[in-house]
Assembly symmetry: D2
Homo-oligomer: 199 residues x 4
């Protein structure tokens, strides 16, 4: 079981480092955008495993009372000026995420990129980039369009490195939810009470 | 309840006409492609309501023993040369469907378009177009990219006309399944037996 | 192509008959419940192909401005007293649909069953049953729990009969949307304008 | 940002502890079952955030060449004797997961539970339980049926503790994938080559 243990250690070390290396000024800006979006709509977009992490975050934002949607599911209303799109892509070059981000910019919605590559096309499109480190070794192949890879036959690497971004991102976003909870002045008991009565 | 009845009549009339107006040579080519794809992979793609019709078709192809996947769901293997992509889009201009189709062409997969507009970008990309009539009145707005509309705030029309393509398409594909079943020499009892033992 | 044509004819004949055989008093009650639910939450539940039809209906209700969710997707808030659950199951015995319906009853939400079998367990649980005919021949096997069938290895029949309920249901619900649109006094232009500005 | 940092630390500490507390004999049995299932079907089931973690695992198993499906998605074939169901539920009492597990047992499929509560109903049903620790403090409320909670209005807690199981589970399963990769004698380059040619 040495590989399992080594992989878990590597994942944990990467999570710790990625949290330490977060630019807290950017995270503060993201929190500001989220708190100001309480009466706006928030959209989350991501493909593949980044999409699963995005859905887990969306579910928590809904728990906190935000008006949030995951792009591509049945009930996704149209966005409008002032809404917020949170685009999750390790490489910042996933084509469907880029398409959604460009469309959001066209209608003057605010785009936040969560990516390892701030200089990527997604990073350049976004109004705010929160950099979450992924692969830290050289020679990391750039992730390409998810749908295209499904068609073309390429896949992300299967070593621990390949899963680093998603794990880092999941812990970052779950921790962000706790910060938001406290900023909103809510205790777990408050939230439970709130859930039992108004939802 | 006059509107409900009138709408149902209009939908039914459109279904009947759309079946009559099918180009059976093209349908025959589609059947050939499907039967030859028994040991290949078949991918279905479509957005919004066209996507739900596509999923219903995919489920039936699976029942018939085909190796079929709906693009965007978790378990979607990479495609390769010789595989088949069935792209469903009323207008033939849904961006995500175009992206998938272009990627499929790049790897020499075969693309079949099911659309009301054979001259659309999707129609021009595809190796085979099966035209399923949708709106038959003039001035029908071209459907645009689904994701973009979600972001931008436009939506498909809500009158009966807006649902014509999806209903026509669902009846066409369900009828195609029956034709395939008979071509494959299977009775309902055969299929049930097969399902009870090997699936 | 005789099988395709025969199947399409059979599907169309069944759609026409199922609309004629609708109990319009029950449909009127459903419309009342929907119109009264404008400031409540509406949940749709269905498995397999019934689920795809349910999602297509949910999308249209959202277009009309309803507060609607499809059970099982990421963003599904908790239900409360007075909310509406629309449960779609041809046989009325799909276990997951029954589970959701029982839970809805427990919290005094209103349950509407759309089924071919009003005397089924779902029909007996529901506050309102709208009967949509499916298979009309004798000996139709009762559909069983979808998940269980996935595990156990049984599947719905593949002949046209097997798809009858879903097609009937899709045309009924699309026509109901048109009726609702007119009851709400909305034209297609109104709705488009509304979508461009408030969504 | 103190809450974010504290939450991240707590999550990381819990991940580390949960990996240390894994019963490696049980993990070895799970690996055996997976390796023996190479020519069988593997089904993953989980609701809500556990479901997103399950999908991320399913995607990786597919990358490794396993014949794997996520229950509830369109293309999910029927299971049969000898197939493997991996059921993920922190509390081991999620009703839909229990339903699927019971159905799997009925047809003599093998059920593996991944849960924090080996003595739960899921744990008692399963042929093998891999315990992944979640909340370690006293008084942890038992998670209940996900669908029921959606209807009834209860939700999982929002404090860091509420997300502990999912994070622990994601790191465990991603590490397990690396172990499997090495057991199967595959390098990242092998896998890439394999993906480029046979998928």
């Amino acid at each position: 079981m040495k590989w399992l243990k080594a992989a878990a250690e590597e994942i944990v070390e990467n999570i710790k480092r990625s949290v330490q290396e977060l630019n807290m000024k950017d995270v503060e800006k993201l929190i500001d955008l989220l708190l100001k979006a309480k009466d706006k709509k928030i959209f989350i977009v991501g493909m593949g495993r980044s999409g699963f992490v995005g859905r887990a975050f969306a579910l928590r934002l809904m728990n906190l009372g935000f008006n949030v949607y995951f792009l591509g599911e049945t009930i996704t209303p149209a966005a409008e000026k002032g809404d917020l799109l949170i685009a999750i892509s390790g490489t910042g070059s996933t084509k469907m995420v880029l398409t959604a981000s460009a469309a959001a910019k066209d209608i003057c919605a605010t785009v936040v990129a969560i990516t390892s590559f701030p200089e990527s096309q997604l990073g350049q499109t976004a109004d705010l980039v929160v950099t979450v480190k992924g692969r830290t070794k050289e020679g990391s192949p750039r992730e390409e369009d998810y749908l295209a890879r499904q068609i073309i036959g390429e896949r992300e690497p299967l070593t621990p490195l390949g899963s680093i971004f998603e794990n880092n991102c999941m812990v970052f976003l779950d921790s962000l939810v706790v910060e938001l909870m406290h900023r909103l002045g809510r205790t777990e008991a408050d939230l439970k009470r709130r859930h039992a009565t108004i939802e």
